[in-house]
Amino acid sequence: MADVALKGVTRSFGDKRAVDGLDLHIADGEFVVLLGPTGAGKTTTLRLIAGLEKPDAGTVEIGGRPMNGESAAGRDVAFVFQQYSLYPHLTVYENLAFPLRSPARRMDKASLDARVRQVAKMVRIDHKLENRSTRLSGGEMQRVAIGRALVRRPSIYLMDEPLSSLDAKLRGELRLELKRIQKELGATLLYVTHDQIEAMTMADRIGILAEGRLVQIGTPREIYANPANLHVAARLGQPHINLMPADLLPGVAAPAGTRTIGARTEHLEISRARQGSAGLGPDGNAEVDWIEHLGDQNHLHIKVGGHKLVTLADPDLPVEAGDRISVRLKQPLYFGGDGQRLA
């Protein structure tokens, strides 16, 4: 395992800058998740580290060694692709053994066999080693794909949305397994996803990418609680963060220059309005538009003036659609006119 550093890495396709002056350091044994929407440059970043793309500017260093001009085979990285992950003409065993049989490694038969079986057990596919890789379920395929990366001890594991093609239940299981395996191995891992739950649950640090730039990097807690700007705030939180004009709700003294207030569930205080109150003022400034029942909690859709807010509510909260309620802010996030966080 080794640390990986990107220094001012830029890569353009045509006149579009897929990755734009990216600086990123991944410490030895660290699990870093890059989070961003489609087209943010996540996959390109991985491919640049793997040597599948050449940077137009900047350097990639693995274990302190600059990788410019080094081929993909010479970089000692492992890559898990989003799809097309297994060689369809090989069995599970042969797929797992493929990296070890490469001319760069040439492992002897006995230790290769031991290694393949050990990893197969680790990703829980040891009962299907002789199966054709096309005769597996989606979850099994992805486990083999991860296993094919794990048979090696590369300087870094690169994973490109490895769980995105799976159903929710499998995704949850593999998420846990992957985190467990990474901890066991002490592996350096750079993981790319657009799924905020994967990012929050697995990452030591999350990097938020937008338009090829690293907007913010920090622990999941930091990114969630202290977003640097509107973009980062909007990436995390379920339901989506509510953005509203500074004077919409009472309860705060917004700092000068505040254009937008961002409020998640924990920033909203809801209480039932007293009977007869007219709607304006602290008692009954909002109306419940409708309620989505999720079982353990409810999504409360609220109308304030012309604005709609969504928040989580205790299912026991005695409100119904059409009820008047009062909503107050509690230490929300303030953003200036340029979208940067003020406080």
Binding site: A73, F81, Y84
Partner: protein
Amino acid sequence: MSSAKSAATATASSAHSVVEPSPTSKRVAGAIVILYALITLVPLVWIFLTSIKSPPDSISYPPKILFTPSLEGYCNLFTTRTRQTPDYIAALPPPSGVCDAVTRERNMVIAGASNFLPRFANSLIIAFGSTFLAVSLGTLAAYGFSRFKVPLADDLLFFILSTRMMPPIAVAIPIYLMYRQLGLSDTALGMMLLYTAVNVSLAVWLLKGFIDEIPREYEEAAMIDGYTRLQAFFKVVLPQATTGIAATAIFCLIFAWNEYAFASLLTSGSAQTAPPFIPTIIGEGGQDWPAVAAGTTIFLVPILVFTILLRKQLLRGITFGAVRK
């Protein structure tokens, strides 16, 4: 990347829209296929039947449906014969084989082997050799066009295709003169090069389609796993392109095997292939139709065997896309 993803989802959703045909439509389709097969088989059956007729039966009118089978055609195909007097034949020791006996009935004796076997061997060498060359070169070129940024790739591909737009025989005279100068006339090498040149354009275009379908992630994965591009090509791309290679090989082989015009123009002696040779089989007092038919029947066998051997690969080609990639 993202366009590849959306394309994959699009094919996945349409893959289930196949409607199971009703039993009636299956029967109708089956009947049409059988009828078509019968119609296309008639000439082949005719040739085979002619090959086992005696020369008088083969030209009798109306054609004989029922006749006594004879091996005379096959005997005449493989041998040359000389006419002798009945007294001379009567004085010979008993015939040593079927052909010996058949020949003597016509007051002839076998003088030696005909040129059919060497001509047939020429056909095998030239057709399989040129197919191997065309498919090998075509696979490499198609891979290059598919994976690398080749300058003027579209123009080059069009140029390659344009060589098919004119009937090859239109350049017969220049090629004839060129081959004379280069000493390639009537050589197996010359014929192989010629058929390779004609086939390689087809091979490049067909194989490029197949290789484009193989996601480049496979090679990238292999290269990250410690293989060079060439090793990844052999270990990962080739095994997945077998279907396309098999189909391309059959097309190339059929062309090279059946080619008549260039073969009759450029070969006459040692490198002559079977197609120009077979019609020159002349019996006594006219064309020896059973021998010609026998030559044609034997000539069909290699293509038949080759196609049957590769049938599995071809069938897999049809169902390949249905498997989750």
